[in-house]
């Protein structure tokens, strides 16, 4: 009776057998983010090791791409070494400030999207801890 339904099932079955080429692991070491402010965690902390990442991404000379500063509440691309992210990006929502979690997500995902490199899916960064 039901061709449509069977074919949907077939497609699923097929997809499950596709050998999964995992793009993530390659070249990324074990390190993870350490941002206790964001606890309690629903997902494992994102996989991130500062130096290997930047080497791979060619960011060695370009710290301000991430570590920006601010002037009159506006983001400026000027390296500000001393300033931890959480000092401005509070965990709680505040007017005119991007909260911490969103700041991280936008920082990473937007760049990965633009470069079409690096993970964009939840679990590709938040890899469950073995």
């Amino acid at each position: 009776m039901n061709k449509v339904f069977t074919s949907i099932l077939m497609v699923f079955a097929l997809v499950l057998t596709v050998p999964v080429a995992s793009a993530m692991a390659e070249g990324m070491p074990e390190g993870r983010m350490d941002v206790p402010e964001l606890a309690p965690f629903k997902y494992a902390p994102a996989v991130f090791d500062h130096d290997p990442h930047n080497e791979k991404a060619g960011l060695d000379e370009n710290c301000e791409a991430c570590h920006h500063g601010s002037e009159d509440g506006k983001k400026v691309l000027e390296y500000d070494e001393e300033l931890p992210c959480a000092d401005c990006h509070t965990v709680k929502k505040q007017k005119g400030v991007t909260p911490l979690r969103r700041a991280f997500h936008l920082q990473c995902i937007t760049c990965h999207e633009q470069q079409n490199k690096g993970p964009v899916q939840c679990k590709a960064c938040h890899q469950p801890e073995k």
């Binding site: 039901n2 949907i8 997809v15 499950l16 596709v18 629903k42 991007t98 969103r102 964009v120 679990k123």
Partner: protein, 218 residues
């Protein structure tokens, strides 16, 4: 892979929601104008009081004759519908996507709870399938549309739980998003249109029973 996924959670998601919004409004609006034009002698009896009375009473499990007579289905359908709505809103990844896009934050379900509810929804869908095959009446009246709708609803949950278990790596979340978007777009055009119309048919029959028939409709 990245670009396909980015496209699916970005432009395609926008497209799905916009298509849903536009077609849903269009379907409701054209139904409303058709009712005014052709069913004036029924619309005349519409009443807020009796509409809400009927909706409220049917939202109580085992209150109506229908719920009482079909106890298992009633339990399953209430659980299913509630879990559906709760999951769509309160799973963490959805909130995060909303947060990234619009800055919306609210509390979400722990992953274990989301997994459990997702499995419950899948179990409910299995029961629907089982009933559709084994119940003589339901089998007698089932059309392709019913299977398609059920499949459309089940697919995002199956892919979500598989994704949560890490099965299929990066393909599963992509499939999840695509199947969910298929579901969203299909709502106004399949049996899932009951999501749009059920409140209004209930309101109408409630008004009839309250206003014309002076008795309850549950």
């Amino acid at each position: 892979m990245n670009s396909l996924y980015n496209f699916a959670v970005g432009p395609l998601a926008w497209a799905a929601f916009i298509i849903l919004a536009v077609t849903a409004v269009w379907r409701l609006w054209s139904m409303y104008t058709l009712a005014k034009q052709k069913d004036a002698s029924s619309v005349a009896y519409m009443s807020w009081k009796f509409s809400l009375r009927s909706i409220a009473n049917w939202l109580i499990p085992y209150k109506s004759l229908g719920w009482k007579t079909n106890p298992v289905l009633t339990a399953v359908t209430f659980v299913f519908h509630i879990c559906f709505v709760v999951l769509v809103i309160f799973v963490t990844p959805h909130q995060i996507l909303l947060e990234n896009a619009f800055g919306i934050t609210y509390p979400t379900l722990p992953t274990a709870a989301a997994d459990a509810l997702t499995l419950i929804v899948i179990a409910c869908c299995c029961y629907f399938v089982y009933r559709r095959v084994t119940n003589k009446t339901v089998r007698f009246v089932t059309r392709t549309n019913d299977w398609v709708s059920l499949g459309l609803v089940a697919a995002p949950f199956v892919t979500a739980i598989l994704g949560s278990w890490g099965v299929g790596g990066e393909i599963m979340p992509l499939l999840h998003v695509l199947t969910a978007e298929a579901l969203i777009v299909a709502i106004p055009f399949t049996r899932l249109a009951h999501i749009l119309f059920a409140l209004f048919t209930r309101a109408y029959i409630g008004s009839e029973f309250g206003g014309v028939r002076h008795c309850k409709d549950w």
